[in-house]
């Protein structure tokens, strides 16, 4: 199994997670969804490696709308992974005959290239256990986030999460604004869903392509124009 550079042990998160269901299952879970009971955040346990003693899971937080796009086959597993919040990754090695609650979750310093999901891996409902239950929970969470956060975030009514999306709409501008392809989309705010996704195309408000270095200026302008506070 790949040797990893890890940082701290995370002792609290794993005890707050409840299993919602398996997005991919064949003779055991392959990609499993958990919810943090404290704050409703969604985490995926993504099986990435094993040896003769343990199975290794990459753990990361996903946004419900990105997850729903994955389940609707609009984006691949790779795209879903690209939308991970804050790029914060955890790793847990679960030994044979042990469970995740008996294992240690650790902050991952850097991700080995080989652990990136396959770009051709798309959701298959046949491999998904409890699909309806998962969809219902994800949709409920989306509604809750919309009510609790988006309407309070100085008019952000819609935003981009992955390459599968094409625009970020900012109500203050009253127009669609798009960012540089592949760049992180960062909307600064005081709410917990303030950092999001990867852009697909770059068109500014004059409908001209923006150079990649202009993202910082754009963020600045976005912050000023919409009074979104860091």
């Amino acid at each position: 199994m790949e040797s990893l550079s890890v940082k701290n042990k995370n002792l609290s998160l794993i005890n707050n997670l409840i299993r919602i269901g398996d997005l991919s299952y064949f003779e055991g879970p392959l990609l499993t969804l958990f919810e943090n009971v404290i704050n409703g955040n969604l985490y995926l346990f993504d099986w990435v490696d094993r040896d003769e003693k343990s199975n290794r899971w990459l753990v990361y937080r996903v946004h419900p709308s990105a997850l729903l796009n994955f389940m609707n086959n609009k984006i691949s597993h790779f795209d879903l992974f690209e939308s991970v919040f804050n790029r914060k990754l955890y790793i847990v090695d679960v030994e044979n005959k042990k469970l995740i609650t008996e294992s240690v979750l650790q902050d991952l310093d850097s991700l080995p290239q080989k652990y990136l999901p396959n770009k051709k891996n798309y959701f298959n409902s046949e491999d998904c256990q409890y699909e309806t239950k998962i969809r219902n929970i994800v949709v409920q969470l989306m509604h809750r986030i919309k009510q609790e956060n988006l309407y309070n975030a100085d008019g952000i009514s819609n935003y981009m999460l992955t390459r599968g999306f094409s625009s970020i709409k900012i109500a203050g501008f009253n127009k669609i604004v798009e960012l540089q392809a592949g760049s992180p989309v960062k909307v600064l705010g005081t709410h917990k869903y303030s950092q999001i996704g990867v852009a697909v195309a770059a068109v500014n408000k004059y409908n001209k392509k923006m150079p990649s270095h202009s993202n910082r200026n754009f963020d600045k302008r976005l912050k000023q124009t919409n009074r979104i506070h860091a």
């Binding site: 597993h77 030994e95 044979n96």
Partner: protein, 156 residues
């Protein structure tokens, strides 16, 4: 549910309704991924294989069907599912997948006296629980289908 004794009965007894009451005896052709003619894991349930260890996140993964065998209703479906799962994996997991599941598909002739089968999924997969005296090796045709060609690629 019939009163015949199942293989691994003492382990199945730990689960309620195991095998499920709607599992039925079938007399049919069935297809299973195997490693070769005499490999010890050819007909061993996933939960009884310790190397590689079964993937378990919590207690719910230690379920009844982990003590059954994965079979398919046709050779085409067995091949298709193998290829789909293989292709979805990360590069380094693909070799592990071959080592775990094998590289051949065996044809079996199931009899009602062999055990009970669950419902077939859309991809033709079903779980089979053997009766105590069943030896599926004896139900296997002597020739296997090789999933990979001599060039290491999927046969077309």
């Amino acid at each position: 549910m019939n009163d015949k004794k199942f293989k691994y009965q003492e382990l199945l007894a730990k689960f309620p309704n195991c095998p499920p009451a709607d599992y039925i005896e079938i007399e049919n052709g069935a297809f299973r991924w195997i490693h070769g003619k005499d490999h010890e894991n050819n007909f061993k349930p996933i939960n009884l294989i310790s190397d590689p260890p079964p993937r378990m996140l919590d207690e719910t993964d230690n379920m009844c069907k982990g003590f059954g065998l994965s079979l398919f209703d046709s050779i085409e479906n067995a091949y298709k599912k193998y290829k789909e799962l293989y292709c979805k994996k990360r590069e380094h997991q693909r070799e592990d997948f071959i080592n775990e599941k094998g590289r051949y598909i065996a044809t079996l002739k199931l009899l009602c006296s062999d055990g009970v089968a669950g419902s077939f999924s859309k991809s033709g997969h079903f779980t089979f629980h053997e009766y105590e005296s069943t030896n599926l090796k004896n139900r296997m045709e002597s020739s296997f289908f090789s999933i990979f060609g001599a060039d290491g690629k999927f046969v077309s």
